[in-house]
Structures are given as C-alpha cells and as structure tokens.
C-alpha cells in the first residue's frame, strides 16, 4: 500500500487566505488542486510536504473566457473543462489536441490547468502547449500580482519561479487573427506521458509565415521551446521544406534522455517529426482547411 508521509491539511477559503497559509507554513507547504500529480508523488514519497493547502474551494479560479484579444483560463480549470470549451476549440485547437491525449477522461475530471503548469513535470503536455502560444502566467503573492511568460515559468524539472508564498491564479493566451495551432504526441499507451510531443502555432499572411511558436515536451527542450526552429520559419513560405528544416532544428537543439520510454535517438527523431506534423496541421488550420 502506498501511503503519503504525514502532513497537516488546511483549506483555503480565498486566494488571499491561500497566500497567507502558504506564508505561514513556509517552503515545505504545497498547494493541492486536482492532486493528480502531487498525490501520486506523495504516495511514492518523492514529495513529502509538511502541509497541504487545498484550493479546491476557490471556485472563482475556475473559468474560461475571452477578454479583448486574450483567452483567460483560471488556474483551477479542470482538464475536462478545457477540452469541453467551444471557445478554446475555436481560437486555440492546440489545447483540444493536447487535452484529448492527457491522461484519461477520469483523471481529466480532477487535474487542473494551473496544477499541470506548477508541477513543472518535464514531460507535461500543457507546459509545451502554453509555451508554444506564448501564454502568460498570472501569479499572486503577499506583495500583489505579477505576470510571467510561461516560457520563463519553469526553471528546471519540478521547479518554477513561484515563491513559496505565491499562487498561480490565471493563464492568459493571446488570440491573434490569421493563426492556426496543433499538438502532436506519441505515447506508448493511452493516457501515458509522451515519449515526445510537439505543439505549434503559425500565423500566415497569404502563404508567408508572419510568426510561429513551437513547444516541445519530454525531450529536454529548454523552457519547453524551440527558438531556433521558430526563427527559421518567420518570414518564410509555409511549405513542407521549411517545416522539415524547422523539425531538423527542433531535433538538433533539444536534449532528450534515455529512459523506459525510449532511447535518445528515437526521441530526437520524434521531436523533429512531431514538430513537422504539428506545423503541417497548424498551417492547414490557419488556411481554414482543417
């Protein structure tokens, strides 16, 4: 039987209360939302927080809405809600692609968007998707609110820039016209973490790529990004040749490690191939073909 080490448990009644509790309990406290990454780690004693601060009662952190040219996603939004949201599908199909292959429908009922980002698992899917679309994370702490690019949120495996007494409250995704996005993942079996995965967003003017975003996960890409591949696409025609070159660059600049999901050369191959497939599908969507 897997049993977590002992800890104290408290429920936050508001964001301010959560921040206060985090401050009171110090760096050994952890926030629990869906708990579907944290609790398994606690059961394996890979995580042994002294205190858990439960934020599941903070219903005001659960929403998806458009405000101006941004899609706002509350941190407590469940994976299932992101997948079911028509507004997400309309503007940013990359998230529906990704959510369809994150864990399974039961786990998606509980796991949260904010929890996925804060867990900072190096093989997590939404981190790559949010990095691809250049989302911003809204972080609240005792001193007020700050925003951090998702590309700067993760400082290493299971580590973020959040201070112990800060809480991720919202993710903001820019909505720009003329774009298309997609996510491609290879997993060993349904619901598993990826062997490798790539997300892409493209903006086209005619057939010219005006801007591009690429996110990679599970392949050791710094900050889940592929900036060399993005740079090679900007201003270029949206053709198979350019996508292949971007895939080559994405594969070259990532750093996969061998593990039970596959050897380095296979993962590197996937990083390139999945980048190409995601770009191809993103371009088709930008053209209104898919």
């Amino acid at each position: 039987m897997q049993v977590p080490a002992p800890f104290s448990y408290q429920r936050a009644t508001s964001v301010e209360h959560a921040i206060e509790l985090l401050g009171k309990h110090g760096p050994e406290a952890r926030v629990v939302a869906g708990g579907h990454s944290l609790i398994p780690m606690m059961k394996l004693r890979l995580a042994q927080p002294d205190a858990l601060i439960d934020i599941n009662d903070l219903n005001d952190l659960s929403y998806i809405r458009v405000a101006g040219d941004q899609l706002l996603i509350g941190a407590l939004t469940r994976h299932a809600e992101l997948l079911a949201s028509p507004v997400v599908g309309e503007h940013l199909p990359i998230f529906h692609d990704a959510e369809r292959v994150i864990a399974d429908p039961i786990v998606r009922n509980f796991g949260t968007v904010g929890g996925s980002l804060c867990q900072a698992d190096p093989a997590e899917d939404l981190s790559a998707a949010f990095a691809a679309v250049r989302a911003e994370a809204v972080i609240r702490g005792p001193g007020g609110t700050r925003t951090v690019a998702v590309r700067d949120l993760h400082v290493g495996p299971y580590e973020t820039v959040l201070a112990p007494d800060e809480l991720l409250t919202e993710v903001r995704v820019p909505i720009r016209p003329g774009g298309g996005s997609a996510y491609e993942k290879v997993e060993r079996r349904v619901g598993d973490y990826p062997v490798a995965a790539a997300g892409a967003v493209l903006w086209l003017d005619g057939d010219t790529i005006t801007d591009a975003g690429i996110g990679l996960t599970a392949v050791g890409a710094p900050h889940f990004t592929a900036p060399e591949a993005e740079a090679a696409l900007r201003g270029q025609p949206a053709t198979e040749e350019r996508f292949a070159e971007a895939g080559r660059l994405a594969a070259e600049h990532c750093n996969p490690v061998a593990d039970q999901r596959g050897p380095v050369d296979y993962k590197r191959h996937l990083a390139g191939e999945l980048t190409v497939r995601a770009l191809r599908r993103a371009a088709a969507r930008a053209r209104g073909e898919a």
């Binding site: 039987m1 897997q2 049993v3 977590p4 080490a5 002992p6 800890f7 104290s8 448990y9 429920r11 629990v32 708990g35 579907h36 609790i39 398994p40 606690m42 059961k43 858990l52 439960d54 599941n56 299932a80 864990a103 399974d104 429908p105 039961i106 786990v107 009922n109 509980f110 349904v190 619901g191």
Partner: protein, 163 residues
C-alpha cells in the same frame, strides 16, 4: 481531523488522518468494500467513485478533500433493491469475468450514460479508456454499456432472461 462526507446519500462523520486516501476511507473506515483498490497509481480505474457527480479515481484523492462533498460508490447504484441498467447490462452481456474492474466500470458507465444516453461504441471506449480489464478484452463491457443504453428501465425482457 474530523470530516463529514455524504456517501450514497448517507452522512458519515469520522476522525481521519489527512494522509488517508479516499479509497481506504470508503473500504476500511466505512466498510464499503464494493469500491476496489487496485494499482494505486491512478491507472487501472477500479477505484472509480463519483465525487460531486464526477467520476474520480479514489486512490488519488485524500479523504479530507471529500469533507463536505457527495460521494457515490457502486453500493449506491441499485435504487430500492433494483439493479441499475448498467448492472443489469453487465449481467446480460457477460461484462465481467473475475469482476475486479467491475465497480469502476459501472460507475464510469453510469456517468457516461447520464451525460450521453445513446453513446457510440467509440464514445464508450473513450469513456472507459482510463480503466483496465484483463479478462474481457473490453468487448463485452462495451456491449454491456450499450445494453444499458438501450434499456432505460432495468427489467430484462422475457426473451433476454431465457437467452
């Protein structure tokens, strides 16, 4: 700490350690052993119960997180001694062999049919994709859930009983 959880419409107040998992609270503290405890890694899905109407893997939820919430387990499926159509479906279509995965399958099936009363085979397979069965190859589970979809009431026809 003291928690009050409503399980199958009955309120229970118990003193538990914060680290107690919901599955063990149900099985050991309350004695509701219909919910099975399987892989312990949120993969197999035999521990699925409803948490405020949503299926969840109870090996990955703390009992204290259920304080003040509504839990429904497989024991709560049969109303007034009458089997739920999904239970009847598993009988009619041989939806189990060893029965280990069955409680979780039944709870997921009921939730699926509540949301989507006429699911396609693909939708059924997607709904149970977070659950493992090592006996049936899933074929008979899918048939059982389709049977339940086609029989809104629990009474099998005379023909089905004799079959």
């Amino acid at each position: 700490m003291e928690i009050t959880v409503t399980v199958n419409d009955q309120q229970y107040t118990k003193d538990v350690e914060p680290r107690l998992l919901l599955v063990h609270f149900l099985r050991q503290t309350l004695g509701l052993t219909g919910t099975h405890w399987g892989c312990d890694t949120s993969n197999c899905g035999t521990c699925v119960v409803w948490f405020d109407g949503r299926p969840v893997k109870s090996c990955t939820v703390l009992a204290v997180m259920a304080d003040g919430h509504q839990i429904r387990t497989v024991e709560g499926l049969a109303a007034g001694g009458e089997l739920d159509p999904v239970q009847q479906g598993f009988i009619q279509c041989h939806g189990l062999q060893c029965g280990f995965c069955t409680p979780g399958m039944l709870m997921t099936a009921r939730a699926l049919l509540d949301a989507n009363p006429d699911p396609s085979e693909a939708e059924i397979r997607e709904a149970i994709s977070g659950q493992l069965c090592r006996c049936t190859g899933y074929e008979n589970i899918v048939r059982s859930i389709r049977w339940a979809a086609e029989h809104a009431t629990t009474e099998p026809t005379a023909e089905e009983v004799s079959a």
